[in-house]
Amino acid sequence: MPFTMVVKVNGQSQTVPDGTTVRQLVALHKLAPEKVAIEWNRRLLKSERYDQVLGNGDEVEIVTFVGGG
């Protein structure tokens, strides 16, 4: 069995395989990278850095636009 780690995605703990990248995490949730913005450990992560490998305990926020005033 491959090693796993726990990351927090949008406030929810989630177990993912070691070596998972942000891009893979987005794909895992069936989201289109061009329609979301991503924070990695409370810092904006630009598209060109989506191959960032996640570490145990990392916090990721994946956001989009919703209706608002």
Binding site: G11, F65, G68
Partner: protein, 272 residues
């Protein structure tokens, strides 16, 4: 064309409409269209990870037509507002929308009143300006806070007519007019937009008659019984108020002044 500018943004419509609280996305589309607005506001929220195939707001906004103004609604600290602004900018850069470089800054004090926190708003304004944003800052109708926010580098100041979503209209026209006077002193083109509290069309007209450069509203349209018809009303009210302001209203007088001459009347006049 009655164009106005907020830093590098050149706008030919003065109504800013929110996209929240519509019963359906289709109704939102129709209301936006009916309002004639050019700028629409949106919020930044966590993507739903369970139901990721749900409908997305972005699929219902014509990004070639509207300039999107992302807000920092729901933020109670300057730090969180800055994070949200950065995320909103990144999203709009990906969509290649002109709105990528501006933000409607909200730093709120508490969830009940949704009144702005002036200190947090000023802190966030300074930081966001350093990051290259054009900041449109939501604030209360307090004229001194408004001036401080302008001094912090805001591209536009947006005093509230009354609390967000309250529909109470312009509760203190004197304060709004003082905001306008102080913010535009020696800088008449500085944009001031009345944001929040609009309940009906006359509220928009009053804001514009006072000399506001624009009005931002959401609930007044979204929660009207007929949002599309109300959007039309808001459009006309904006135009009426703007024209009225440009025309220059008559001063208020204590007594009547007759429109028909007294010269030549055949009647008895009391007291003469």
């Amino acid at each position: 064309m009655d164009v106005f500018k907020i830093k590098n943004f050149s706008l030919n419509n003065r109504l800013f409409i929110g996209t929240g609280k519509y019963a359906t996305y289709e109704l939102m589309q129709q209301a936006l269209e009916a309002s004639g607005c050019q700028v629409v506001t949106v919020a930044v929220r966590r993507e739903r990870l369970i139901d990721a195939h749900g409908r997305s707001l972005l699929d219902y906004l014509d990004l070639s037509k509207y300039v999107i103004l992302p807000n920092t609604a729901g933020c109670f600290t300057a730090d969180d507002a800055i994070r949200v602004a950065m995320l909103g900018r990144d999203l709009l850069e990906k969509q290649k929308n002109a709105g990528a470089n501006w933000v409607k800054l909200e730093v709120l004090g508490d969830k009940k009143t949704l009144l702005p926190d002036p200190v947090g708003t000023i802190e966030a304004t300074r930081e966001l300006v350093k990051e290259g944003f054009t900041v449109l800052a939501y604030t209360s109708d307090d004229p001194r806070s408004a001036v401080r926010i302008k001094e912090a580098g805001a591209g536009a100041v947006m005093p509230a007519g009354s609390p967000i979503g309250s529909g109470q209209g312009i509760l203190n026209p004197l304060n709004i007019s003082l905001c306008l006077e102080l913010l535009k002193e020696g800088d008449p083109a500085f944009p001031v937009i009345v944001d929040a509290g609009v309940g009906t069309a006359s509220d928009v007209a009053i804001a514009m008659e006072l000399g506001a450069d624009g009005v931002l509203l959401n609930t007044g349209i979204a929660h009207a019984k007929d949002p599309v018809k109300m959007a039309v009303a808001m459009r006309h009210a904006l135009e009426a108020g703007r024209l009225s302001y440009q025309s220059g209203r008559i001063p208020r007088k204590r007594y009547a002044t007759a429109s028909s001459p007294f010269d030549g009347v055949i009647s008895y006049i009391p007291g003469e």
